[in-house]
Symmetry: C2
Amino acid sequence: MPTQSIDLASKLTQFNEYWAPRTVTQFNGHDVMVAKMQGEYSWHSHPDTDDFFLVLHGRIYIDLPDGVTVQLDPGQLYVVPKGVEHRPRAPEEAHILLMEVSGTPNSGDPATAAPRREI
Amino acid sequence: MPTQSIDLASKLTQFNEYWAPRTVTQFNGHDVMVAKMQGEYSWHSHPDTDDFFLVLHGRIYIDLPDGVTVQLDPGQLYVVPKGVEHRPRAPEEAHILLMEVSGTPNSGDPATAAPRREI
């Protein structure tokens, strides 16, 4: 059992790729991840898990069906319910805390998903 | 389905009690909560859920068995595994994001738990 806290800013200094979440710990069968975003991701959904976003740095947008867009600034969170199509995007680099059921493909499709990596 | 982000700092302005988490949203059967801490909480454990702590403001300590203490500053998180005895404490006021399976008594015992409240 780890006996040290996890410093999210430090974890984020350890990689530079966008859209490639890194798992920092586990919580009740979920991967707790940090990720860097810039640009537009693809539209996708996760049939088996809600998608938890908390912004740590920068600003992100989550496009939802019917022309709805959620804006998130640092200290703001949003949960995309399972099965709901969404498109995350960030005009400038942004950093997030992300949680999904362990092993969920981040793209919604194992064929295109970033590999799950721990740091 | 909500279509607005949740601003954690705003939620934290809406109450002042310590050790009385407020649920801000749900995630895969978990309550996502904010809480204010000051002083020492009691030793307890949760047999059915890990306990997720992310510090938003201030500094907290989580005492664990065998004299181990985890220190958490803003932007740092720690997951207490299910069943592990722990005692959260905060010498000065601190604010946290907390996640547990929905309905979990925060004290580990329904008889002494703070009621689950939403904001």
